[in-house]
């Protein structure tokens, strides 16, 4: 899972949990606040009434003749009421409670403040009530606002977190995407600094660049060594070859000596191939080939088929060129491309027993032009394939006494030409696929 996604989920969940706690405790909190507020209002009302009685006397509420009846009043909507009556006890302090009252055959809950006071030497009980319906209404409104604010907050914070995480991770994606994933060989690494004000990414970028410099240096040293060593070998091999050829052309040499010379020629030929293969691998590794040519792949396959048909037939191998639609591959290198596919066909012929079958075809597979060479041969040993994929140059199949440069070259050229190369050992033999990049 992406780091940015993890951050997002963490932020979302942590905020969600906190907000959930608020949501659950919200109604109780609101109720507590609403009741407290009501109690404070009731107290204020009581103070106002006491102030009026102290100023105007109890007659303002209860006249002389109604002393036994008392005073009672509801406001218009029955949300509040006040009740004053004479009693013969005195509360130690004010009492607040909830009481049900039946008004017009409807039961209404009131928050009631009961307080006793002395007026004109008599004890009066004053009850001031406020309907809990109003508290409930207030509670609901506040709760709705509360939930809406929380939801908006959650959505907004999620979007902001998302944008922020995208922005903060952008340098990391640049380092991985542009600098690491898109390159196949160390030489392709671009040392341009990634622009970021995040110190960690800056350090990572610098560390990767420093590491790649060391790797590139090691690669270059290897390339220069191989190149120099190969060139140094070329002139003596050239001398050897020309000497042998000169002797071969001489009429003074008998048949037996000639046969020895042919053997020497074989050894020289092997030395030449080894030196050239080393140099070629080194050059492909270092992208020393132009990639500006256009190749008609169907013509290339037809040409290879013509070259190898007779050889396959001689070995009683059924070499067939199946689908071969016209396709022009641009920005490539013809000689490398030819060498890569030719090595596959040559290997197939070499390792397919008599009576076997080799199919060669080119077709569009998942939008990519693909050349396939499949055979009914012995397959390639896994350990050899592994060695080649790991880029080991000096591999040796002791049993068959082969250097394995051909396979190595195939892989190196495929990497250089951005070809997706797949080699599979199937039940019937080996299948090699060269999938070319979409143009």
């Amino acid at each position: 899972m992406k780091l940015s996604a993890k951050f997002l989920i963490y932020n979302f969940l942590s905020k969600g949990v906190l907000l959930m706690v608020f949501l659950i405790s919200g109604p109780y909190l609101i109720e507590f606040l609403a009741v407290n507020n009501t109690d404070r209002l009731l107290q204020e009302k009581k103070e106002e009434v006491i102030a009026i009685i102290e100023q105007d006397g109890i007659e303002r509420f209860i006249s002389e003749e109604n002393r036994d009846i008392g005073y009672g009043s509801y406001n218009l909507l029955k949300e509040e009421y006040i009740l004053i009556e004479r009693v013969n006890f005195l509360y130690a302090s004010d009492t607040i409670f909830v009481e049900q009252r039946i008004l017009d055959e409807t039961s209404v809950s009131y928050r009631v403040l009961a307080s006793t006071f002395l007026a004109e030497d008599e004890v009066y009980l004053m009850e001031i009530g406020r309907s809990l319906e109003t508290i409930q209404d207030f509670k609901e409104i506040v709760f709705r606002i509360f939930v809406s604010v929380i939801l908006i907050f959650l959505i907004l914070s999620f979007l902001l977190d998302y944008r922020f995480s995208q922005r903060i991770m952008a340098p990391f994606h640049l380092i991985v995407g542009k600098k690491l994933s898109s390159i196949k060989e160390p030489q392709q690494f671009v040392h341009d600094k990634i622009v970021t004000n995040t110190e960690e990414f800056e350090t990572l970028d610098l560390a990767i660049s420093a590491m790649m410099r060391r790797i590139q240096k090691a690669f270059n040293q290897e390339r220069i060594f191989i190149s120099h060593a190969s060139h140094e070998l070329k002139t003596p091999i050239s001398i050897l070859q020309s000497k042998v050829e000169a002797m071969f052309g001489s009429e003074e040499i008998d048949h037996v000596q000639m046969e020895k010379l042919v053997d020497m020629q074989g050894t020289i030929s092997h030395m030449k191939k080894t030196v050239n293969a080393l140099l070629l691998i080194s050059k492909v590794n270092n992208a020393q080939f132009i990639k500006t040519e256009s190749v008609k792949c169907n013509e290339l396959l037809a040409e290879l088929f013509e070259d190898w048909e007779g050889i396959a037939k001689d070995k009683s191998i059924d070499l067939k060129l199946d689908q071969n639609p016209p396709y022009v591959l641009k920005n490539t290198n013809q000689s490398l491309l030819l060498m890569m596919v030719r090595n596959a066909i040559s290997n197939a012929i070499k390792y397919t027993p008599r009576g076997g079958c080799i199919r060669v075809f080119g077709e569009l597979m998942e939008g990519k032009y693909t050349i396939v060479v499949s055979d009914t041969g012995f397959g390639i040993p896994d350990e050899i394939l592994k060695q080649v994929k790991e880029g080991l140059v000096f591999l040796k199949d002791a049993e068959k006494d082969k250097s394995g440069f051909g396979m190595q070259l195939m892989f190196k050229i495929a990497v250089y030409l951005n070809v997706d190369l797949k080699i599979q050992n199937t039940e019937k033999g080996t299948r090699i696929e060269f999938a070319f990049p979409i143009q």
Partner: protein
């Protein structure tokens, strides 16, 4: 045909000179840029075989001088360098071909003949063997009026043998001519036998191919 060989490696000079002399070329030798420059200024050459890495400079510098010659000789660069840039630069500066060391002397001869054919301006270059006619320019083989279809590789092989007529060419030399020396395949010299067999089969359907000889244990020869 006069050839200037510009090469500083004495042993290689000896062998190339011997080979060219045997083929009736008149071969002069220069081992330094200065020496070569003097020879070019004085003598009219048909071919210059030019090594690039010389003790007193780069052979590439000579190409400019060669370009100023009245009858510009054909130039084949012979070098241990195989960088693409060198090759492109050399060809752009007027060289006719580029042969990387180590090369076969027979390959050198084939390249020289190809240049001569090219420069002779599409002149028909036909070789007749009994009733077979091999047209090196048109890359075709005829038996009297009938055309015999050979594959590209088969024709190239036959052409190489014909150019080096009366000389035994072994499988390694033939394989190198056909596939260069990059193919990692020790079997390729055996493939020569297959191609020769197919050539004989195709040509044999029209007439005798006794002139295409197998020299047991050594290779093949076109005997004219």
């Amino acid at each position: 045909m006069r050839v200037l060989l510009v090469e500083d490696e004495p042993q290689l000079v000896k062998e190339i000179k011997y080979f060219l002399d045997a083929d009736n070329y008149i071969c002069d030798v220069a081992s330094r840029v200065k020496e070569a420059s003097e020879s070019i200024a004085v003598n009219p050459y048909d071919f210059i075989l030019l090594d690039l890495g010389l003790p007193d400079g780069d052979g590439m510098d000579l190409l400019e001088e060669i370009g100023k010659c009245k009858d510009m000789p054909s130039v084949i660069i012979l070098t241990a360098r195989s960088e693409v840039d060198d090759k492109i630069k050399g060809l752009q500066m007027g060289a006719d071909d580029y042969l990387s060391k180590p090369f076969s002397l027979l390959e050198l001869k084939a390249r020289m003949q190809a240049i001569l054919r090219r420069k002779s301006g599409f002149k028909k270059d036909r070789i007749s063997i009994n009733d077979f006619t091999i047209d090196l320019s048109a890359k075709s083989v005829h038996y009297l009026a009938d055309e015999i279809k050979l594959t590209g590789k088969e024709f190239s092989l036959l052409q190489f043998l014909v150019i080096n007529k009366n000389r035994v060419l072994n499988r390694f030399q033939l394989a190198e001519h056909l596939w260069g020396d990059h193919l990692d395949d020790d079997y390729q010299s055996n493939y020569i036998d297959v191609h020769i067999k197919n050539i004989r089969k195709k040509l044999g359907a029209f007439g005798s191919t006794d002139w295409l000889e197998t020299v047991r244990g050594l290779g093949y020869k076109v005997k004219i």
